[in-house]
């Protein structure tokens, strides 16, 4: 890492300096009369620090300060109004006994466990469909990817309408297909509500999974597959024993994307179910939102946030570990 840097700083001064100095006009005389205040390399280092400072300042004020504050708040009883006081681990022990929080965590895990394989399998299927680059593949790729750029909130409102009882086009369609009555209120049951949310998320996100998997598939050299085929491997065997192992870094990435995204779910449930029926579709982030900004228990909300953060750090760490071990096996 440091070698090119040294070279970058060393070469220009060592090599053409005399030549440029003579043609440079005013500057060389100053150089000759007294040593410059700063050498070129230290000036570059200072400039580097100055250029990065604004971004670092923003990150410090709006990210690192809140992060430290969150840890401190989680050990305090901290209402929105009035003073706060230190209560040690009370918020954490409360969190582990809080039935509502437990239910929201369980629901979030359930949602994640269903969403992740659905997204992965569909994304992989779609990637395999367009991988060959047949005529039309690029078009389909673009169309399938369209919902990815739409916001989660906007698509939630769209699907909320689709599945309204009586008024909703999709409900009517299900009625025609004999899969339910048009008058069914799909959001009145926590399972059907969950399934509709998952359908919406799949519609919105699967294009991204397809894209990532497609890029991973295309990075696999063609001759590897060819060799497997020559050795007599069938299509399924090639997939299972040749492509999948080579695809592991992409798999890790895709899985972490959907696991982290699902664990942080909020918009879709806030919009489509409002947590109902009877609080059965409240996710972890939704529960933190309620603790902090509905009940105004900021200390307790911070403790829950800290727990959520720890879980996501573990997820990221698992990703890194998966990526690293796949590099070693290469």
């Amino acid at each position: 890492m440091t070698d090119p840097q040294i070279a970058a700083e060393g070469i220009p001064r060592a090599r053409p300096r005399p030549g440029t100095a003579r043609t440079g006009g005013q500057a060389p005389r100053l150089d000759a009369s007294r040593p410059p205040l700063l050498t070129r390399s230290s000036r570059r280092r200072l400039t580097g620090a100055a250029l990065t400072a604004p971004a670092l300042l923003v990150i410090a004020v709006f990210f690192l300060v809140p992060l430290v504050l969150m840890l401190w708040m989680s050990f305090n009883d901290w209402p929105m109004m009035g003073g706060h006081h230190f209560i040690g681990f009370a918020n954490y022990s409360k969190a582990f006994q809080d039935g509502e929080f437990g239910a929201s965590v369980w629901f979030t895990v359930k949602y994640t466990l269903i969403t992740t394989p659905v997204l992965f399998l569909l994304g992989l299927g779609m990637a395999l469909l367009v991988r060959g680059g047949r005529r039309g593949a690029r078009f389909f790729q673009t169309v399938w990817f369209l919902p990815v750029v739409i916001g989660l909130a906007a698509s939630s409102f769209l699907w909320l309408y689709l599945f309204q009882s009586d008024f909703g086009p999709a409900s009517t369609l299900l009625g025609h297909l004999g899969l339910g009555k048009a008058s069914t209120n799909w959001f009145a049951d926590s399972w059907s509500a969950l399934l509709i949310v998952i359908a919406m998320v799949t519609w919105k996100v699967v294009g991204l999974q397809m894209l990532l998997l497609l890029a991973g598939l295309r990075a696999i050299p063609a001759d590897v597959e060819e060799a497997a085929r020559i050795d007599g491997a069938g299509r399924w065997q090639t997939m299972r024993y040749v492509i999948m192992p080579l695809l592991r870094p992409t798999l890790a990435l895709v899985l972490v994307f959907s696991v982290a995204g699902s664990l942080l779910a909020f918009d879709q449930f806030y919009v489509m179910t409002s947590g109902g029926p009877s609080n059965q579709t409240i996710t972890a982030v939704f529960d933190i939102y309620r603790a902090s900004f509905v009940k105004f228990q900021l200390g307790y909300g911070s403790a829950l946030s800290t727990l959520l953060m720890l879980v996501l750090i573990v997820v990221s760490a698992v990703q890194m570990w998966l990526l690293r071990s796949s590099e070693e096996t290469r």
């Binding site: 580097g48 708040m73 060959g132 750029v149 906007a154 409102f157 309408y161 953060m309």
Partner: protein, 308 residues
């Protein structure tokens, strides 16, 4: 960066898009798992499923109010009407949707500019002007990736309260900028690092200062990275709901996604679905247009950022 648009390399691809049959394409098409007709059928079915909700959004927003409230719904508007869009623009309904649109544009464009400027400067610093501890600082910036902003919104609310930035579009913009910065930094640092040092040295030998060589020599080469950073930031800000709900309480400062929740809470208990879908369309269509125009940068940047 180049992962997406490159030509496919696997043997299946040989004949696909290349047009008239070459000998190799005959062989590979014979080996294909799916015959062409079946492939088209599957892909078309999927395309219909993906386009169906968008079609519903458009037609529902173009119906007259009476037709929009019919059950069962009509499949296409029997009378085209821009009434829903006119009603959105009319603040007499009690929802300041036009104001929300302006707010969304202000916050998204503002945060995008801030993110691009900050991450360009810092990305250049991290890539080319290394100083003591710069690698460690860059690592700290990247580590913020791991911590979702949903987790730190509670303390962030207090920090913004202290700075008098709660219920302010400036505050919201600052929050958005902060949470888009790590990815922007990452993209821009990679863009600059990919430029050979000799280019910069040549510029400096010609008498350019550091900032001038950044502006005149380096930035033009790193333009794809800038566009990608801008696009990803804009989409993220335009569509963000959670922070906007928490940090903005004043209706005149709502952004589009929050305004949609107002539309959906309905007037006297009944929701105008035509109006709501018109609102959804106004939120969605700009994203679709921008994506279709700048697809190359969007897709390339996602892959470049995710896979490197």
């Amino acid at each position: 960066m180049s992962t997406a648009p490159v030509a496919p390399v696997d043997p299946f691809a040989a004949g696909g898009s290349a047009g008239p049959a070459k000998p190799s394409s005959d062989r590979s098409s014979a080996r294909r798992a799916l015959p062409t007709a079946a492939w088209w059928a599957v892909c078309l079915c999927l395309a219909v499923i993906f386009l169906y909700p968008l079609y519903i959004m458009v037609v529902q927003s173009l119906k007259t109010p009476t037709e929009a409230a019919v059950a069962p719904p009509t499949f296409f508007p029997h009378h085209f009407s821009l009434h829903s869009f006119a009603a959105l623009a009319d603040s007499a309904t009690g929802i300041q949707f036009t104001q929300s649109l302006v707010n969304s544009i202000l916050v998204s464009v503002g945060a995008t500019i801030a993110t691009v400027v900050l991450s360009t400067l810092a990305g250049y610093g991290f890539a080319k002007l290394r100083f003591r501890g710069s690698n460690a600082l860059f690592f700290v910036c990247l580590a913020t990736f791991m911590i979702p902003f949903q987790a730190i919104l509670t303390p962030l609310f207090l920090v913004l309260l202290k700075l008098h930035l709660v219920n302010s579009l400036w505050g919201l913009g600052a929050v958005y900028t902060t949470f888009q910065l790590p990815f922007g930094l990452f993209l821009m640092r990679n863009s600059f690092a990919a430029i050979p040092d000799e280019m910069e040295e040549a510029a400096q030998l010609d008498g350019c200062g550091v900032l001038r060589s950044l502006w005149r020599v380096m930035l033009p080469v790193a333009v794809p990275g800038v566009i990608t950073t801008a696009l990803l930031t804009f989409f993220a800000c335009w569509n963000e709901l959670f922070a906007a709900i928490v940090l903005i309480t004043d209706q005149s400062k709502f952004t589009l996604p929050v305004s949609l929740t107002e539309l959906a809470s309905g007037n006297l208990g009944s929701i105008d679905w035509g109006l709501l879908q018109a609102g959804v369309a106004v939120t969605v269509v700009p994203c679709l247009i921008i994506y279709l125009l700048l697809q190359k940068y969007y897709v390339g940047g996602l892959l470049g950022g995710a896979l490197k």
